[in-house]
Amino acid sequence: MIKRWRQVFNKRYQQWITRRLPPVKKIRLDNRKLFIFPTRAGFVFFTLLVLLWLIATNFENNLIFAFTFLLTSLFIIGVFHTFLNLSGLQIEGGRATPGFAGQSAEFEYLLSQTGNRQRYSIAFSHPGVDPTVVSLAGNEIKAIYLSIPVKKRGWFQAQRITVKSVYPLGLLKVWTYLQFDTRALVYPRVIDAPLPTQMAAGQGDKPPPQNYVAHNSGSEDFVGLEKYRLGESLHHIAWKQFAREQGLQTKHYADAIDDELWLDWDSLPGMDSEARLSRLCAWALRFSEVPQPYGLRLPDLELAPGTGRAHRDAVLRELALFGQPKEVGEQA
């Protein structure tokens, strides 16, 4: 019962927060967006004030009254100071660096202000992430980054980030929840798998399928490193890597019959689509390390082979958004 109430309350609260602070690109914090409340230390401070007041009253000592009132005033003054440490701060959702599912995506936030207030100790946090604490000098523009864990491929929108500050006295906290409409692209989870012995190349009407054999026996293009398996030639062991304590690995080379290399959905039969995407993703990463053009072939899409970072990103993007609406994301 209580659990249900809590759920209802949380839902209402989320709705209220969303109404009050809708997702934005850039926000300037002011009194309508900031919340302020005493901290636990603040409540203990109240107790101290009550104790002092009791002492003053009982000993009929006006000096202690005066000092009690001074500390009370300090607390009240603290409300303004605490509030102004955040008020006027401008936060803009910056770039969101894509990440792989199971790892994290990095969100950038740009802090600026029009005045020259020195701001201290502002904590930015997101559920599941250690807060980042920054100070901001007058007229300074500062970028902070939150690495937010991502689980599923596709577009990922960060939850509300909490911006909080207790400076200067620690007796009050001022905070806000901000939702930026920045989204990060999450690539599939990387599950490395040995390259299949045969990878389809060319299109269906282009017989015969050219054979691509990944092996460690030839002397052609270096493809990558693989874990040493018993029986492999000692000539191909990557001794440099072994010396760096990266374990026994063997160098693999590919004799590309054709420059065109295809990462093909159909080369991974018997797996569900996520598993296939994960493996295609891993291979794409592997091939992007070497000067080897590669293409992507998915059930409803084909990307012509290419090299370079832009090509890699395009491939990964298609893998990330496979089967999902491909709206244009905010990737400033």
């Binding site: 002092l52 009982n58 009929e60 000092f67 100071h81 005045g115 200067p168």
Partner: protein, 676 residues
């Protein structure tokens, strides 16, 4: 072992300084070893921070805690009372310093520092010590600020500056609260400090008053609502002594009366015996600010009616405080100088008491008194005859010769040299021996008028003893035999009379009083005193003037006016902060050029061309040229001037050029559209 949490370096600095300062403030009433323990704990914490020493073990800490508690018990023999409490608080405070493992430990220390420093005001209420307490709150606040300044903000001075600014901003608001907040009386009985009486004591032997005559300390100050009465009227009654054992005069308790309670409280209606006082004419209204005496009796002109709730009128027509006066006490009184006390009759038992004489003392005086009584049956004539004797043959001096067993005999018929108590004692003894009820009254006589402020300073050397005799039909009549010997003592102030004598103020060798003949020093002394008096009146005893003050401030005291005042005064008190904080937000420390450039940017932003964060002027111009070629020329031109103003040699003229160029820069929709 390195603690998980470490206090910021600057916070630790201010915290340790606060500890040292609070030890220094309380040094006077702390057992030396408690102070020493605090210093050792401070040093230990410094060494811990520098990783030179190790954390004390749990066993050591607990045994230290036990040792502290035991030591305090042995030192004080009790645990209740103010001083043991503060000392106990101190030992806990020092021990806490050894375990700064969490942020909350540091917070506890900071809060304890606030508490301990403020508690100093229970021990001393002078201007200087209050100021020291105020100063001492500064490092504590700095420690609190430094705790929350973050890792990038490690300079101790920055935290101090913020703390100072906040404390200063808090002061106006504190004053408003101090003025308005109601004071309710103490909620429960508190352990009283026990220390020796200062000033007039509850008994009088020869030499007691003489000793007071050597002290230049202030006894009390009086502020009259009207003009200050003549010096000879100012008899500040304190205690009434009816008992005499041959040497010592003392009070004869509250017994002997059967007409109501001994004490009449101002807020509890009149006792039956109030009718034996005949008050005539207009009363004098005045306010007394008494220095700490550690005793409950108060001083007032005859015949008083207290106006403060903690002050009672006693059956023998003097004022008594509810609690011993351990700190400055202020009370308001109305006095009717024109009065008659018990004119009809004395309560039977008291009548006997006021005539009682110890047997076996002063036989010669008794004998002569009886003779005189037969020769002069009229009481007034008898009194005048005795006073005339004093006037002709006696000497008033601060250095009276010592007296033996028969004090009155030896004085009256032998030495004939004495101070006021000698005269009062011998006079009352003589009167009783002659069958006239009489008693000794002690208190103060006269006072020093402050030349510029409208108040009277009464010093310890103004302490005086005189007599009261009871005459059927007239009641108690004040007779001051000293006035017969040395009328100038009553006419002038005591200090004017005695300042040439070597013994004057011999108990206060460093008193400024001794130098009263040096004009500017005397002025300085009086200035300092008026400051001290203002402090006592407006701060220490504020609850006594609060009502009148609020009344004069608000016209009437009701919740609406108080609320209105709080709002107004609070608003005014907070105004400087608003101005400071909000102005500094938009305070333009950027130069003129930046301001102009921001104008330029905002004009473009209105056209839907905002500058991106971090985008340079040149990049911005290029982007605009691309998006809106219609604006390209103007933007390129302005950017060129901006750059030469910013980076060129002749900044000043270029800034002006930018300003003029900017005036003509009014991008319009058309220009924007013409591009696309």
């Amino acid at each position: 072992m390195r603690p998980l949490w470490q206090i910021p370096r600057n916070s630790l600095f201010w915290l340790l300084l606060s500890v040292v300062i609070s030890i220094a403030l309380h040094l006077e009433h702390l057992p030396p070893w408690v102070a020493l323990a605090g210093i050792v704990a401070t040093l230990w914490q410094i060494q811990l921070y520098r990783e030179r020493w190790r954390q004390p073990g749990r066993l050591l800490k607990w045994s230290l805690a036990g040792a502290c508690a035991g030591g305090l018990f042995l030192h004080y023999g009790r645990m209740n009372g103010l001083e043991p409490m503060v000392a106990l608080l101190f030992s806990g405070y020092s021990l806490k310093l050894l375990e700064l493992h969490h942020k909350r430990d540091a917070l506890v220390l900071i809060y304890l520092s606030y508490l301990i420093i403020i508690l100093q005001s229970l021990f001393s209420t002078t201007i200087v010590s209050s100021f020291l307490v105020l100063i001492a709150l500064l490092p504590v606040t700095a420690a609190l600020v430094a705790m929350h300044g973050g890792a990038e903000n490690t300079r101790p001075v920055a935290a101090l500056r913020t703390g100072l600014a906040m404390l200063l901003q808090a002061i106006p608001l504190m004053l408003v609260m101090f003025i308005v907040m109601p004071r309710i009386g103490s909620l429960w009985a508190i352990p009283q400090k026990t220390s020796g009486t200062t000033g007039v004591s509850d008994s009088m032997s020869p030499g007691d008053m003489t000793r007071l005559g050597r002290s230049g300390k202030i006894a009390f100050r009086v502020e009259f609502d009207g003009p200050i009465p003549a010096q000879s009227q100012l008899y500040w009654r304190g205690l009434v002594f009816s008992g005499f054992d041959g040497r010592r005069w003392d009070q004869q308790g509250p017994w002997g009366y059967n007409d109501g309670k001994f004490l009449q409280w101002s807020d509890q209606g009149l006792e039956a015996w109030d009718s034996v006082i005949k008050r005539r004419g207009e009363p004098l209204s005045y306010r007394v600010t008494l220095e700490a005496t550690n005793s409950p009796w108060l001083f007032a002109l005859s015949t008083p009616l207290p106006q403060s709730s903690t002050v009672a009128l006693s059956r023998d027509f003097r004022l008594v405080s509810k609690n011993p006066v351990n700190a400055k006490l202020q009370y308001s009184v109305k006095s009717w100088l024109n009065n008659q006390l018990e004119p009809e009759s004395l309560v039977g038992w008291r009548h006997k008491l006021e005539l009682a004489l110890p047997s076996g003392f002063n036989p010669k005086t008794r004998e002569i008194a009886e003779q005189w009584r037969e020769q002069t049956p009229d009481t007034l004539a008898l009194i005048n005859r005795l006073l005339a004797l004093y006037n002709q043959e006696f000497i008033y001096t601060l250095r009276p010769p010592a007296l033996g067993k028969h004090t009155v005999d030896e004085f009256l018929w032998g030495t004939k040299k004495g101070f006021c108590e000698f005269y009062a004692s011998s006079f009352v003894f003589f009167m009783r021996a002659a069958g006239v009820p009489a008693r000794v009254v002690v208190g103060y006589q006269g006072g020093e008028r402050h030349p510029t402020e409208n108040y009277l300073l009464v010093h310890q050397y103004d302490a005086h003893a005189w007599a009261e005799v009871w005459i059927q039909g007239s009641g108690w009549l004040r007779v001051d035999p000293t006035a017969a010997v040395a009328p100038e003592r009553i006419e002038m102030s005591f200090a004017d009379l005695f300042s040439e004598q070597a013994d004057f103020l011999s108990a206060s060798p460093f008193a400024l009083e001794r130098l009263r003949h040096i004009q500017w020093l005397n002025n300085l002394r009086l200035k300092l005193d008026s400051l001290d008096y203002a402090w006592a009146k407006w701060v220490l005893g504020y609850e006594n003037v609060q009502n009148d003050f609020l009344l004069s401030l608000l016209g009437a005291i009701n919740p609406q006016r108080i609320a209105l005042f709080l709002l107004l005064a609070g608003g005014i008190a907070l105004l400087p902060i608003f101005i400071m904080l909000y102005l500094s937000r938009d305070k333009n420390t950027r130069d003129e050029l930046d301001r102009l450039f921001l104008q330029y940017c905002s004009r473009l932003e209105k056209m839907g061309l905002p500058r991106r964060p971090g985008e340079g002027a040149r990049d911005f111009a290029q982007r605009i040229s691309r998006c809106a070629p219609g604006l390209a020329e103007a933007v390129e031109h302005l950017t060129g001037i901006y750059e030469s103003a910013r980076y060129g040699e002749e900044g000043g003229t270029e800034v002006k050029a930018f300003k003029t160029a900017l005036k003509g820069f009014k991008p319009s929709r058309e220009e924007l559209l013409s591009s696309t």
